[in-house]
Subunit: 397 residues, 2 copies
Amino acid sequence: MRIEYPHRHERFGAVRIHELTQVIEIDSGLGGAAEQAVIGGRRVHHVPATAINGIERRMAVVVPTKNERRKVIEGVLSGIPHDCTIVLVSASAREPIDRYGLETALLDDLASATGRTAVAVHQFDPGVAAAAAAGGLIDLAPDGAIAPGKGEAMVLAMAITETLGLDHVGFVDADNYIPGAVHEYTKSYAAGLHLATSAFAMVRISWQSKPKVTDGRLVFNRWGRTSQVTNHFLNLVLSTYTGFGTEVIKTGNSGEHAMSMELARRLRFAGGYAVEPFEFVEMFEQFGGAFASPHPEVNRSLIDVFQVETRNPHFHEDKGENHVSGMRTQALHALFHSKVCPDSVRAEICEFLEGEGAVQPGCEPRAETIYNGIVGLDSERFGRYLTKADTFRAFNR
Amino acid sequence: MRIEYPHRHERFGAVRIHELTQVIEIDSGLGGAAEQAVIGGRRVHHVPATAINGIERRMAVVVPTKNERRKVIEGVLSGIPHDCTIVLVSASAREPIDRYGLETALLDDLASATGRTAVAVHQFDPGVAAAAAAGGLIDLAPDGAIAPGKGEAMVLAMAITETLGLDHVGFVDADNYIPGAVHEYTKSYAAGLHLATSAFAMVRISWQSKPKVTDGRLVFNRWGRTSQVTNHFLNLVLSTYTGFGTEVIKTGNSGEHAMSMELARRLRFAGGYAVEPFEFVEMFEQFGGAFASPHPEVNRSLIDVFQVETRNPHFHEDKGENHVSGMRTQALHALFHSKVCPDSVRAEICEFLEGEGAVQPGCEPRAETIYNGIVGLDSERFGRYLTKADTFRAFNR
C-alpha cells in the first residue's frame, strides 16, 4: 500500500493525532523496500506487502454482527485478508431462525475452503458471560449477562484477541456492501500500525464518501451529520486545552478502526454506540496530561493516532434516522460526563442536545456505561471458560 | 487470491468455456504454495500472491475514458495494482475544458507519487491515427481518424500493449465508483490467466450484483437485462452447434475482461459496444471448428475462457436506457452478421429486435464494423510514430 504520510499533527499530552491522510495505491506490488518520497510537497510512504502481512499475521479482525443479511456478511468475510484472525461476535437473533447458526456456518465454509483461522461467540451466551466474569471482567457481565451494545461486543472481542496472544485488533462492521472496502480498511490498519513509531497506536478510517439515495438518485456525501457533530465537540475539547482552534479530528465516530493491544489493554471503553468517540475522550482523559495517568509508561512514550481516508466509498445498510441520532447523543453524553470535558464545552453540548430535543431543559445527559476494558484480564482463565461456552466456535485453531 | 476452480465447461471446437466461478478470498496472504483443496464438492484454488504478481508485471490494464468525473477516474486508478502498466485511452472532450489534460494530470500525479508506469493517448489525435496506419492497422484509421467507440479504443490499447512488449491485456471501465472492485477485477484477471492451461486465455468478470436505485431505495439486482439478452443468444448459438441446451455463458457483455496477448493478436474486434460480445462470436467463428481457422495453432491447442464472479458489486455511473439499449442491439447485430450464426438464431434475433422496435419489419440489422485487430501490426513502426503524436504521454518509461 502507498499512503500519504501526514505532515501535521495535534498533540494533547501523550496523544499525537495526525491529520487525515489518503490512500494512494491500494496495492503497491510485491517488490520495493519501505521508502518515503516527497512529491509536490506530499510525503508518500510505501509500506511493502511483507510489512503489511507481518501486521496481519498478528491482528484479529473483529466483525460484530447483528441480524445482517447472510450475503452481506459473506462479502465482508471474503474481503478480510487471509492471515488475519477473524473474531465474530454475534448479537443476532437465535429464534425463530438461528441466525448465529447461519453465521457460524458461513465461517465454517470459509475456514474449511481456505484454512484460515476464525473464532466466534454469541454475545448473549451465559457461558461467555461466565468466562468474562471468571477472567476478571466483572463489570462486563454484572448479572451473569453481557449487555447488548457495540461497545460491549468490542470489549469481549478484545479479551478474545488478548487470549489468542495477538498484538493488534481491528474492527469492521458487518453491514458493509463493499468487500473491497473491507479489504482496504484492513490494509490501511496494517499500514498505519506499521508506520507508528510508538507501541501505542491507533488507526481510524474516514471515508472518501458515503453514498446515499436522495430523491431517487445516488449522492456521494462527504461527511455524515453525526460525524460532523461528534468531530466538532471533540475538536472543541482539544482547542480548549491547547488554546488553538483545530479541526484535526475527522474520525470521531469511526466504527472502522484498529489499535495495538498495547494500547487496547490500557483503555476503558464505553458501551453501545458511544464506544468509538469515547476512545478519544478516554485518551484525552488518561494521557492528555491534565490528570494523573494510571499508565505513566504511555505518558513517557506517546500514542500515535492515524486517520486514513480510504479510496472506497462507505456503502452500508441504511439503519434509519433513529440509529444515527442514537449514535450522536450517546457520544455527547459520554463526553459530557468525562472529567476532561471543560465546562464551556459541557454548556455547548447541553445547548445542542436541547436544540435536538434530546434532553429536558436543565440538561443532565444520561451517563453512558463505561467499562474497564480488558485491564486486569486473566486471559488464561478467560480462555479456559470461554472454550466451554455453548456458542464458542473455533476454526483451524 | 482463492478462487473456486470450475467443475464443468462447455466446449465448442477449441473454445473451452468454463462455468462461472466465485472469488473466495480477495487476499489469500503472502505465504502458501499453489494448491487445490476439494471442500464439500467445491474445488478451491489458491493462487499465490507471487503468481498473481508475476502476471501483473506483464499485464497492461487499459482504462478507456470518456468524460468521466475526475474523482471517479482517480479512484479507479488507485485500485489498479502497482505492477500493472496503465494504458489510458481517452475519448474525452478537449473543449471548453481540456478533460484529457485533467486525465493526464491525474496520471502524472499518480506516476510521480508511486513510480508506476503509465501511457496515455487521445483516441481522436490525428497523430495517433497516423501511427495506427503506419503500423499497418489500416482499417482502424481509414480516413486519417480513429472512429469513436469502445471497440476502437480497445484495439488501439492492444496495439500499445503489444508495442510495450507485454503479455496480457485487461480492461476496466473508468466509470466505476468502487476502487476495491477494480482491484478485485485485476486480481481475478491475473488469477485466471495464471490458472489457464493454454497460452490462449481469457478471463471475463461477472458481478455478484449490480445496485440500482429503484423507488428511492437500493436494490441489488443479479443480472441486468442487457446481459440476459446477450447471454441468451450466445448460449443459443452454442446449443445449436452442440445439440445440448446450455446457460454456460454469463459474461457476454462483460466490459471487465482480460486476455493473453497470444489470443488478442489473433482476434478481430467489433467497433463500439459490440466489442465484448463479439469476442465470443469471433472465437466461435474462427476456432469453433465449423469453419477453417486462419490460426490452426489455436485449434491444435485450446482457448481457456474463465468466467469469474467477483465479490464486489458493480456500482457505476448510470448512463441511462439509451446507452444500454444501444449495447444490446449492437451485440445482436454483430452476432446476426457472423457466418457462425445459424439461420434459426438469426430468425430469433429478428423477432426480438422487431419486438423492441429496433429494426424495420423485414429485418436487416445494421452490420457493425469489424476490425482486423492487431493482426499484422508492425509494432516497431507503430511505436515510433505514436511517440511523436501530440497527445502521447508516457510516465516512468
